[in-house]
Every structure is written in C-alpha cells, then in structure tokens.
C-alpha cells in the first residue's frame, strides 16, 4: 500500500470503529471492547509505518477535490510532514492506552459502548486535524472534537457538575471557534486557497494582506481549544469527566490541537510581530497563573488540569518565539507523561476512594496499595518538573533555549520582547511546576494517619498501560538528537545556561515545598478529614463519580478544602484562596457575560410575555368577540334567516331602482 493509502486509513479506522460501536453497541455488547481497542491499535501501527516512511523527508501531499465548492475550492487533502507524522503517532499511542485502560476502568459502566465509540470518534477527529492538508477539513475534525468533548466530559451526566462542565467546555471552545472560523476565511481569501501548502507558499511570498488580523482571529480559536488565558476556564471543570477522558483530552487530543495548528501555520503568525507578542503574553500569563492555581488545588485531577494549562503555555511560548520544533517536542513528551499522570491518578482515586489530596494526605501507605501507579507517577512527576534525565527536561529546555535564543536577538523576525517574556515566565513557572509536582507527590504518597483502604490489586490492563507510558516519559529525551530530522532541523539539545537555570529553579521549588510540607504535615493530625465512598469495591469509573459528587457536598467547593496541613497554603500565603478559585476568572466571566446575558434574556422573556403576547391575544380576542356576536344570529330559526335574507333583498332592490331612476 502506498503511504497515502495508509495515511488515509489512520483516521478512517477509528471512525469506522466509532460508527460500528454506536450502531452495534447495544445489540452486540461482546464486540464493544475489541471494536474499541483493535482499530485504535491498528491505526497506531499504520501511523508508525507512515512516520517511518515519511522519515522527516519531504512532506507527503495528496489531494482530491470531491466537488467544486465555489470561488475557494475545498479539497480532501493530506499534508504529512514530520510534525504530522510524529503527532499522529502520539495521538494513536495515547488513544490506544486510554482505550485499553478504559476497558478496565469503566468495566461496570452501563454506558461503556457509547463512551468507547465516542473516544474512537474523538481520536479519529484528532487524526483528521493532524493529517489534513486543507483548512476546512481540519475545521471539521476540530469541531467534531468539540462535540465529542461535550459528550465525554458529560459522561457522568447524572451529576450537576458534569452537566455544567460539559456545557462550559462546549460553549467556551465555541466562543473561540467563531473568530477562528472568520480567521480561516480571511486567510483563505488572502491566500486564495484553503490548502495549507498554498497558504504557506503565499505567506512565504508575502501575499497576506492582513497578517495581524488573521493571526489574532486564529489565536482566539487556539486559545479556546488549547485552554490558554483567557479561555482556559473550561479545562479545570472538564475534570468532571472520567479520568481516561481527561488523559485523552489533555495529552493528545483537543488541547494539543490548538498548539499543533499554530505549529502548522507558524509562518502566518511569524508574519506579524504583534501577534507573536500577544501570543507570548498569553503564554506567560497562562503558565504562571495556572501554575499558581495548581499549587492551591485540592482535587488531584484539577492539579493536573492546571498543570496541563501551564505546559500548554510552554508550547505556545515556544511558538511565540518562532520555534515550532521545541513546541511540538514539548507537545510529544508532555503528551506521554500527562497521559501517564492522569491514568495513574485514576488508579489512585480508585484505590483511595477519594479525589481529594487533603484526604490522601491522611492515609498511610497509599503507595503500597498501588505500587505501579506510585512508581510510574513518580517518573511522570519528575518529567513534569523537568528534572534531568527525564523527557520533560529535554523538551522544556528546548523551549527555554529557544526563548533565550529569541531574547538575545538571534532569531530572525521574532521580537526580542517576546523572547524575554517567555523566558522569564518559563523560569518562574519551572519553579512553580516543581513545587506543585512535589506537593502532589508528598500529599498523595507520604500521607500519615489511618491505613489506606485495601481493594486488592488494580486490574492488569490499567497497570500495564502505566508502564507502557512510563517508557517515553523516562527515555523520550534520548531522541533529542534524532528529532530535528523530522522537524525544522533546528537543534533541540539543551543549552548550558538555560539547563542550569531551569534545573536550579526546579530543584529550589521542590526543596522549598518539601520544607514547607515538613513544617505543615504535623498539623494534619489535628484536623481529621475524610469522606467515604459508598461503593469502594466497584469499578474505577463509579468510585470516581461518587468521589466527585461527594467533594462539593463535603467541603462546599469542588476545588477547595480548608486544610491547614497543605504546604501550598503556607507557600502561597494570602494568594492561596484566590489561586484555589482560579483567580476568580469564572466570577469575572459570570459578572461580565453570564449575568448581562441572563438579564437580557429575562428582559426578552418579559417583552415576549407581556408585550408581544398581548398583541397576539388581542388579535385573537377581536375575532372571538365578533364570532360571539355573529353566533347570536345563528338561532337555528329558519324564519329569522329568511327574514334577514329578504330584508337584504328589498334593500338591494330599492337601491338598484333608486340608482336606475336617478340615472334616467
């Protein structure tokens, strides 16, 4: 088979699996698991073959036009360069892991068939985004991901949190998608085509008339999809979905799509210095703010969610300094270790029966209950904190190196201010990242107090997946010498200055957190906490859903627990309360948009009820009265009718005679 055929099959297989799963899921429950796992694995194999054949050489382009579509043609086009090939492999790896993990995690879930089909569809849509060479086809995958995330985040739709979170995820990403669509049209009009290759060619020859406008419009969509400030608020709430969905959304699909899109069209953005500065500021605000918020969260999954936002900030930062190689490198390594973090967090939640770090810190020996999760999560957290030699170190240093490169003015067409912003914010975030990673690890695995409940060993499917993902988290950095062949060719090897600086601040962050934890952990015994899950023996999905439903009821907030033993409280001081609530961005949105819209809606409702309907009722009442009046004439007495008829006849006859004689 040609590489093109293989590449077409990669998104097609999960799509067919999704269609089959949705059609047959109820009637043939025995086929659901193979249908979920096997096509994804096959797609993984094909994606690997495509990546090997592509080999970082010339990009593979193929296009067919199904039907003429007006002035700007829309084509089914493939554009596979090194970025696309490698990101597709990452998507398939994570999707396969998530599917395998889900077979065990959601084993008791009655809605597993539709869940698996939606995950397959989600994967397929992301692969379309990755491989597509046409912006409209890319947009199709982009929007399908949006609707799939709506369904998957709302998987536990019985809980109000999940319902609200799915709606929020959908609306906030759509809010970004509207300017994104306009930006795509503007880009296509300027370039005369939706084909990425043509667009890039037009950019290279300076053919764009409004690069800043287009770049800013596109950035809105990217910010929505990749959860960048100010459209990041949906991501922490999206934790209401099942843990594997979080892993999928955070690691490989959805949020990666935005970064990947900018990487694909980077020349469009670098054509506008203003857009790059905006991108850099956006990245800086996102990464520092989210890292502070992560340090204050109590829900283990919300910590990871904010960390995802921060790591995405690194990627957009790398893009802001014009180095898409570093961005995609970080995307790949982050995809691996963040998927691992989420899946391990799922195991821990299942074992501990709670998603609250405050409660985990009051459990002894949780790490002995879940040794696989303990070790793999340790690896992933070290990668997250960018400690050498784990993968996160190399990718993050690549980003910082690129920022330093731009800050010192060595990069062409990149404002050095963007470089400085990204570099400083990146270093601060490195410190904070190490701090919250340490806090997470200490609270989850170094708890003291009552024995952790023992539910026996976790399913093999879940543990095996963790170890599979631990390999790239541990060793992906070794590819740092090979990767530039797939990318733009720019070296990704860490430079000495940023390595020393980055690792140094990370170590400082970790050590300070450790010290704070030593100081506060004694307080844990004074304030016992603990919510009990009703069905600790059930499957992971049910335990998680119950834990989430219990959290807000027990502590009054999904993200906040008044726990004096939390080292984050000591470190953040007065900031802690605000950070735990995501710096009140939600409240600001609520005041700025939600309440005016609600007020306008009630005004419209009032106008409709009281004004419009009055006219409608009046229009009905007048004929009604007339009808009643006419009805009185219908006595049923034939003589009355006849009298009226003859009276009318006489009147008419007299009138005719009068008219005739008057004329004579």
């Amino acid at each position: 088979m040609t590489t093109t055929t293989l590449a077409v099959l990669v998104p097609l297989l999960p799509f067919l699996a999704a269609a089959a799963g949705l059609l047959l899921g109820r009637t043939l429950p025995g086929f659901v698991r193979p249908l979920a796992v096997l096509p994804t694995l096959a797609a993984l194999a094909l994606a690997v073959v495509v990546a090997v054949r592509q080999g970082g050489g010339r990009s593979i382009d193929a296009a067919t036009e199904l039907t003429p579509t007006g002035s700007v043609p829309v084509e089914l086009a493939l554009h596979i360069d090194g970025f696309a090939a490698l990101v597709a492999v990452l998507v398939c790896v994570v999707a396969s892991c998530v599917q395998i993990y889900s077979t065990a995690y959601l084993r008791d879930d009655p809605r597993y068939p539709s869940y698996a089909a939606l995950v397959s569809l989600f994967t397929s849509a992301m692969l379309v985004v990755v491989y597509s060479g046409d912006l409209i086809v890319l947009l199709v995958g982009w929007e399908v991901m949006g609707i799939c995330s709506y369904f998957l985040v709302g998987h536990y739709w019985e809980t109000p949190e999940a319902r609200a979170a799915s709606l929020k995820a959908f609306l906030v990403t759509k809010l970004g998608d509207v300017p994104f669509l306009i930006g795509l049209f503007a880009l296509a009009v300027d370039a005369g085509s939706f084909r990425i290759t043509t667009v890039l060619g037009a950019v290279a020859s300076g053919g764009l008339d409004h690069p800043t406008l287009i770049a800013l419009l596109l950035l809105a969509g990217v910010a929505g999809k990749s959860a960048q400030f100010p459209l990041h608020t949906w991501l922490p709430d999206a934790m209401a979905g099942p843990t594997p969905v979080s892993a999928l959304i955070h690691a490989a699909t959805m949020v990666a799509a935005g970064v990947y899109f900018v990487a694909r069209l980077l020349p469009v953005f670098t054509a506008s210095g203003a857009a790059l500065v905006v991108l850099a500021v956006m990245a800086a605000v996102t990464m520092t703010g989210s890292a502070l918020a992560a340090l204050a969260q109590d829900d283990i999954k919300r910590v990871l969610a904010y960390s995802t936002i921060g790591q995405l900030g690194y990627m957009t930062g790398a893009l802001a300094v014009g180095d898409r190689g570093a961005a995609v490198f970080h995307l790949l390594s982050h995809g691996a270790f963040k998927a691992l973090l989420f899946l391990a967090a799922g195991v821990i939640i299942h074992a501990a029966g709670t998603n609250s770090l405050a409660e985990m810190s009051r459990m002894k020996d949780l790490r002995d209950r879940v040794p696989d999760a303990y070790w793999t999560m340790t690896v992933a957290l070290l990668a997250l904190a960018a400690i050498p030699p784990f993968s996160g170190f190399f990718s993050k240093e690549a980003v910082l190196g690129a920022a330093e490169h731009a800050a010192t003015g060595h990069a062409e067409a990149i404002p050095s201010s963007a470089g400085w912003i990204v570099l400083v914010a990146g270093l601060v975030t490195a410190l904070l990242t190490a701090a919250y990673a340490t806090r997470l690890w200490l609270l989850a695995f170094r708890g003291r107090g009552a024995e952790a409940p023992d539910h026996g060993r976790q399913p093999v499917a879940m543990n095996a997946v963790l170890w599979v993902l631990a390999i790239p988290s541990l060793a992906f950095g070794l590819t740092v010498g090979v990767l530039p062949r797939w990318f733009d060719g720019r070296s990704l090897t860490p430079t000495l200055t940023t390595s020393v600086l980055g690792t140094g601040v990370a170590l400082v962050g970790g050590l300070v957190t450790y010290a704070a934890w030593r100081h506060t952990t004694a307080l844990a015994a004074r304030l016992p906490l603990g919510a009990v899950v009703a069905h600790p023996e059930a499957g992971g999905g049910i335990v998680e859903a119950e834990a989430m439903a219990a959290h807000a009821a027990a502590y009054g907030d999904v993200a906040y627990v008044p726990d004096p033993a939390d080292p984050g409280r000591l470190l953040l001081g007065p900031l802690h309360r605000h950070a735990a609530r995501g710096f009140h961005v939600d409240a600001v949105y609520s005041a700025l948009f939600v309440r005016p819209v609600t007020a306008a809606a009630s005004l419209v409702r009032f106008l409709d009820r009281e004004v419009v309907e009055t006219y409608v009722r009046g229009a009905a009442a007048l004929p009604d009265w007339l009808g009643r009046a006419v009805r009185r004439a219908q006595t049923g007495n034939v003589q009355t009718y006849l009298s009226a008829l003859l009276a009318g006849t006489v009147v008419l006859a007299i009138a005719v005679v009068l008219v005739a004689t008057a004329g004579a």
Binding site: Q634, T635, N637, L646
Partner: protein, 132 residues
Amino acid sequence: MHLAYPAVLSALLFCTGLYGVLARRNAILVLMSVELMLNAVNLNLVAFDVWLSKAARDTLHSGQALTLFTIAIAAAEIGIGLAIVLAVYRGRGTSDIDKLRDTAESPDDGPDGSAPDASAVAVTDEKAEATA
C-alpha cells in the same frame, strides 16, 4: 283595464304571502302562505300575458302556459311539502318551525364546534323527555 290594477293586487298578495311565510309558526300555515305567493305570481303572469297578446308582442301565450306549469308545480310542491311536514311531525311530535333549531349552536358548545353531537344529544334528550 289598466294594467296597474292586477299588478298592484299581485304585489300586495305577494307581500301578504311573504308576511305569512315569515311570521307563521305552524308549518302548514307557512305552506298556505307559499301558495298565496305563487298565486300572486300567477295573477301577474296572466295579466301581462293578456296585455302582451293584445299588443301582439307575444304570440305564444307564454304567460298562460307558465301559469299552468306553475299551478302543476305548486300542486307537486304542496304534496311534497305536506309529506315533509308529516315526517317531521312524526319524528318530533311538532310541526312548529321555530322549534326545529338543530342547526343552531348551543351556548355550551366549544369554539371548535361539536354542534352535530350537541344536536344529537338534544334530540335524544327530547326523546328521553318524550318517553318519560
């Protein structure tokens, strides 16, 4: 003779019959009034026929021929009319025209008009009342 005499008499008789048709309650009296009206028309036809035949404008005597036809038709009409009145009287026990109000909408009918049902109910009520 002036034509005005029979013409005016015809008009007056016609209007008398008209009053009878509109004012009488008993159906047979109404039929009598109809006969009056028909006769008024007949008188008109005959008078005009005589006038026009004398003036040689009409040689077919169509007025008289039509009068004969009208008389025949009136006879048929009175037969059929009486048969109908008798049938109604057998069915309802009355031949009063203003009691035959089945086509009227009763006040408790809905706006969408379930008049046939209501009238059926009314009829059965009447019958039940009659048998009681």
